[in-house]
């Protein structure tokens, strides 16, 4: 039972354009969500988060949108840069643990 889903395993975007990574969840009790970025041979690093009391949180080039009624969140990266190429995980703050999606591999090409 996958409570957090990232249905797109990969995404390819041209440099300078917008990258949109999507995440869906099933448990309406989740009230805090996080995005992590993972480079090969490294552990995930925190990117941005959002509380369910908000529908948007912005940090530089990264913006996360939350649609509670649809149980959907998305990460927007604009403009995309080649250094953004990585695997992105969304996570939900469960009762006593983080629940991760399967990740989306983003490739930003020149």
């Amino acid at each position: 039972d996958q409570q957090v889903k990232q249905n797109s395993p990969s995404l390819s975007v041209q440099e300078g354009r917008i990258s949109i990574l999507n995440c869906d969840y099933t448990n309406s009790m989740f009230d805090y969500f996080l995005w992590y970025k993972k480079y090969p041979a490294e552990g995930p690093t925190f990117l941005i988060s959002i509380s369910s009391i908000k529908d948007k949180n912005e940090d530089g080039r990264f913006t996360v949108f939350l649609n509670k009624s649809a149980k959907h969140l998305s990460l927007h990266i604009v403009p995309s840069q080649p250094g953004d190429s990585a695997v992105y995980f969304c996570a939900a703050d469960g009762t006593d643990k983080l629940i991760f999606g399967t990740g989306t591999r983003l490739q930003v090409f020149p």
Binding site: Q2, A41, F46, D93, D96, K97, L98, F100, G103
Partner: protein, 113 residues
């Protein structure tokens, strides 16, 4: 923030053997977490390790297979016991409190042959 040193970074092991992964944090933390990421899968929590008490294992993971030590507030080990090829994964330790960002070690890439 926290800096986490995890080792080994990778290993190739024979089936039937055991491997112990170490996780050292540069500050005292109450909760440490061990995750597994199998190829093409999400990060899956194995167990939560709190100092002074036995680790709490998630469904599908047992102490005999993944014994964990937490001797103090800055260190933990995870042992993968009696390994089989199905144990080939990336293993990650993590620290953090709930409802905030978590910090991860660089991971241990384990290949069982």
């Amino acid at each position: 923030s926290a800096v986490i040193s995890q080792k080994p970074s990778r290993d190739i092991c024979q089936r039937g053997t055991s491997l112990t992964i170490q996780c050292q944090v540069d500050s005292q933390v109450t909760m440490m977490f061990w995750y597994r990421q199998q190829p093409g899968q999400s990060l899956t929590l194995i167990a939560t390790a709190n100092q002074g008490s036995e680790a709490t294992y998630e469904s599908g993971f047992v102490i005999d297979k993944f014994p964990i030590s937490r001797p103090n507030l800055t260190f933990s080990t995870l042992t993968v016991s009696n390994m089989s090829p199905e144990d080939s994964s990336i293993y990650l330790c993590s620290v953090g409190t709930l409802n905030t960002e978590a910090f991860f070690g660089q991971g241990t890439r384990l290949t069982v042959v």
